[in-house]
């Protein structure tokens, strides 16, 4: 364990990954301090104006909105769109900060749950073999035969809008890789003598899978998982961008890029006039994914069985 931590911190790329991740975690934890919410629903991005056109960074909250908050008796804790507003006056800064929480939620929950499903199916399939393996792997094949993004899109559309629906769709079509991975490595590990030795001692199947096989094979899935956190966030963002993800106004980076869709090229004669609508959320997504990929890469180097000699 110590060795893993030491390796993680001694390597430049992984250090960048860790620093980025720490920054994102800090943002997520201190979101209420950095961008104080203006309504009960924290994840609802506040609007700075009713204007359809994006407003440049630093624009103040418009009079009508201020009146509404005054009328409702809400204390206005901040009144300037630091990073500008997106289409419809949605505050970009608020969306970025609270979107970090959304990103962590999507990434960690979808990856954890699909990893669990994959591990259960993969290990049962590999350990018991024969017809169990046949049935479970054919089911996996069926799920694998759907194009991921399209399948997730269809399922989200069927289930309805909402972040939880997006996550369900991502899990339903995201566990197969883990199942395949763990199956493969258990198939080879279960031929090891120590598994035979454990069986010869009368250890039951459940314990052999949990205590003997998984600790030897799970690192592969962990590496895959940490890399997938980033790509899950990207896919969720893509779904939001296509309009089947989070509900309108929900603090989600994908949604914010989607807000920018009509403004990316700017207005006639002013190319890139609305750069802030796409640049900020874009940077956040890229850095978030980058952080996880860098960490995943390092984890793979550390946990690679060929380099694991001294463990």
């Amino acid at each position: 364990m110590n060795r893993i931590l030491r390796k993680l911190f001694s390597n430049a790329t992984s250090l960048i990954g860790i620093i980025l991740l720490i920054i994102f975690v800090t943002i997520a934890i201190f979101a209420p301090v950095i961008a104080p919410p203006l309504s009960e629903d924290y994840y609802q991005i506040p609007r700075m104006s009713w204007d359809i056109n994006p407003q440049p960074p630093g624009s103040p909250m418009s009079g009508d909105i201020r009146d509404i908050y005054d009328y409702m008796g809400t204390e206005i804790k901040y009144d300037r769109a630091i990073c500008g507003t997106a289409e419809g006056g949605y505050d970009i800064f608020y969306g970025l900060i609270w979107g970090t929480r959304t990103a962590f939620k999507i990434g960690i929950i979808t990856v954890t749950v699909s990893m669990l499903i994959g591990i259960v199916i993969g290990s049962i399939s590999a350990y018991f073999g024969k017809w169990v393996d046949e049935i479970l792997m054919r089911i996996t094949d069926i799920f694998l035969s759907f194009p991921f993004l399209v399948a997730a899109m269809v399922l989200t559309t069927v289930l309805g809008r909402g972040l939880d629906k997006v996550m369900i769709a991502l899990i339903v079509f995201g566990w197969m890789g883990y199942a395949r991975l763990i199956r493969g490595s258990i198939l080879s590990t279960k031929e090891e003598t120590y598994i035979m030795a454990a069986k010869a001692l009368g250890v039951n199947d459940g314990k052999i899978i949990l205590k003997h096989l998984l600790p030897n094979t799970i690192f592969l899935v962990m590496v895959q998982g940490s890399m997938n956190i980033g790509s899950m966030v990207i896919t969720a963002a893509a779904l939001s961008f296509l309009g089947v993800g989070a509900p309108v106004g929900y603090a989600d980076w994908g949604q914010m890029v989607s807000f920018a869709r009509n403004w990316i090229i700017g207005s006639p004669g002013h190319a890139g006039q609305y750069w802030y609508t796409v640049l900020y959320p874009g940077i956040f997504i890229v850095l978030f994914v980058l952080a996880w990929n860098l960490i995943g890469d390092t984890l793979r180097d550390i946990l690679d069985p060929r380099l694991r000699g001294e463990l």
């Binding site: 003598t193 454990a198 001692l201 039951n204 600790p215």
Partner: protein, 339 residues
């Protein structure tokens, strides 16, 4: 030490284990039978691929697909193990019959501590608490001669030397006081000096718990050290079965004879080391008749046509050969010098 005429602890009758492969049926064990008495050591000798390990795995029923025991009886304390359910078998494994494996390097799980692996069996078979299991584990490690067992239990297999690991394996196998121990080439992967230590340890422990041992090996030196009775296997069958003295001084099967004359000896003048010509036949295409015939210097026409049965030459000495009469005088000539 030597045979008492009680009921055997383990009796294997006409055991047939076949592997159903794509290329055809491999008869890895074909009609093997022997008896192991309480407190006795049976040596199972043969070269690689002759079916000795498969015999062992058939006894504890840990054969993987495509292997299957198709015929025979394995009577352990009078009960046929082949009729037991998987759950019943699991209770017998480790508790009544334990196994020691060949490679101590690979037979211990690299990611679990030594203490965990030993106490696991204890917790599995006895209703005891974790603390008691740890205490028993420390005692066991002490018994197999591992210094500072309190520290060792928290170490991982890679932190131990080969001999130490084999001691841990023995401790694991002995943890639940089994009455039958199957050792599958336990000393093959060790240095000669460590081999002697391990054999010593096994002998001491065996005497202590008055259990029986099936020693699987291809090393006749190990057999000379530890066995009471010996079964020589060749090509899936037992070719000679006798007590140790008979095997070493009065063998009657050409294969046993060949093995013995191919050991380098210090007490005899030898120009060249004897070898058994030829190679082990492919188990998919065993020769007709006696399976040893292509390599046998006593071969006659009959050997090519008809497979011999195990013939009782005297009480407790069985040989599978047509030409005992021709072998015996040669044996007298070649082996008696050393006696």
């Amino acid at each position: 030490m030597i045979v008492n005429n009680k009921e055997p602890l383990l009796e294997v009758n006409d055991l047939k284990t076949h592997f159903f492969t794509e290329n055809g049926i491999v008869k890895a064990v074909d009609g093997v039978g022997f008896k192991v008495y309480q407190g006795e050591v049976l040596g199972l000798v043969g070269e690689s691929g002759c079916g000795k390990s498969v015999t062992a795995f058939s006894i504890i029923r840990l054969l993987d697909y495509p292997g299957k025991t198709v015929e025979g009886e394995i009577l352990f304390k009078g009960e046929n193990l082949l009729r037991k359910t998987d759950a019943e078998m699991r209770k017998i494994r480790g508790k009544d019959i334990a196994m020691i494996f060949q490679e101590p390097m690979t037979a211990l799980n690299p990611v679990l501590t030594v203490g965990f692996q030993i106490s696991e069996a204890l917790l599995m078979h006895f209703k005891i608490s974790k603390d008691e299991a740890i205490k028993k584990t420390i005692e066991l490690l002490e018994k197999v001669g591992i210094p500072m067992p309190e520290q060792r239990i928290n170490e991982y297999p890679h932190q131990l030397s080969g001999g130490m690991r084999q001691r841990v394996m023995i401790a694991m196998a002995m943890s639940c006081d089994p009455i039958l121990l199957i050792a599958d080439e336990p000393t093959t992967a060790l240095d000669v000096t460590i081999q002697a230590q391990i054999l010593d340890l096994m002998r001491t422990l065996l005497r202590e718990f008055n259990g029986s041992l099936i020693m699987i090996t291809h090393d006749l030196g190990v057999i000379a050290e530890i066995a009471d009775r010996v079964a020589i296997m060749y090509a899936s069958k037992i070719v000679e079965y006798a007590n140790k003295r008979t095997i070493f001084y009065n063998p009657l099967h050409p294969y046993t004879f060949g093995l013995l004359t191919s050991i380098p000896r210090l007490d005899m003048e030898m120009k060249r080391l004897n070898v058994i010509p030829g190679i082990v036949p492919n188990p998919l295409h065993f020769p007709e008749g006696c399976k040893f015939n292509p390599r046998c210097r006593f071969m006659t026409d009959r050997c090519k046509e008809e497979e011999p049965q195990l013939i009782k030459v005297e009480e407790g000495h069985l040989v599978r050969c047509w030409n005992i009469d021709k072998v015996a005088p040669e044996v007298k000539k070649d082996l008696l010098v050393g006696e």
